[in-house]
């Protein structure tokens, strides 16, 4: 039975000698590419960015949903205080902004790694990996 990741092994660690130059001076960048560590790190960072975007949007979205639900249930607009308290004004908004900043941070890291290791953007790298997997499935 063939190895489930044989197609990656064929291009990765087992055939490092095929990809390396004669001198076999493996740089850190080449090792990161051949071992697929860079691609995994990019995927993790992008997933983290998506997660934090969802977390950042969850609180405001749930507030809007709650407002609309009350409006529909009571058939009248919910009570809106004239003066907004400290927590509503600063803390809730700050948390969302902080989550968005973490998401941006993750995106920037993914972009940095992909530019340094592969010389292209992170989405192109992941698309290439997806194409490799699809080709393997079709074969």
């Amino acid at each position: 039975m063939p190895h489930p990741f044989a197609f990656i092994l064929a291009k990765g660690w087992d055939s490092t000698n095929a990809q390396m130059p004669e001198t076999m001076q493996a740089t850190l960048r080449k090792v990161l590419i051949d071992s697929h560590v860079a691609a995994i790190a990019i995927a993790v960072l992008l997933a983290g960015a998506i997660e934090f975007v969802f977390i950042a949007l969850f609180d405001p979205a749930s507030r809007v949903l709650s407002f609309l639900t009350i409006a529909v249930a009571t058939n009248s607009p919910p009570y809106i205080p004239r003066t907004v308290d400290y927590a509503a004004r600063n803390v809730s908004l700050q948390a969302s902004l902080f989550d968005l900043s973490v998401a941006l941070n993750n995106l920037a890291c993914a972009w940095l790694i992909s530019r340094w290791a592969y010389g292209t953007g992170p989405m192109r790298i992941l698309r290439n990996y997806r194409d490799k997997l699809m080709r393997r499935k079709d074969a």
Partner: protein, 105 residues
């Protein structure tokens, strides 16, 4: 025994996934260290009435140092694992290749 563990980690991609996770954590920590002063400055603006002038600066330096240490530690682990799992293979082949010119000479 260690060789078997190494082969299992490499063949199952568990090693690559673990190193990838650690690398992503380490690099995002470093970027967070750069972004942290802005976050702290924003918080400082909010809570400035509760703190003395020196307190936020001390907290800022403490948090930056802690995050920097964590990121350095994570990247160190990444490098050690990379060397253990992926570099030795290349070095071993390097040794195998080097005697050839001597034989021909």
């Amino acid at each position: 025994m260690l060789e078997r563990v190494k082969t299992a980690l490499v063949d199952s991609f568990v090693g690559a996934i673990a190193i990838g996770l650690l690398l992503s954590q380490g690099i995002s920590q470093i970027v967070r260290v750069a972004v942290n002063p802005i976050t702290v400055w924003l918080q400082q603006r909010q809570y400035s009435e509760n703190y003395s002038v020196g307190a936020p600066r001390a907290a800022l330096i403490e948090s930056i140092l802690a995050q920097l240490l964590v990121s350095v530690f994570l990247l160190l682990i990444v490098y050690v694992l990379l060397r253990w799992l992926y570099f030795p293979h290349v070095e071993k082949q390097d040794q195998d290749v080097s005697p050839e010119p001597e034989q021909s000479a």
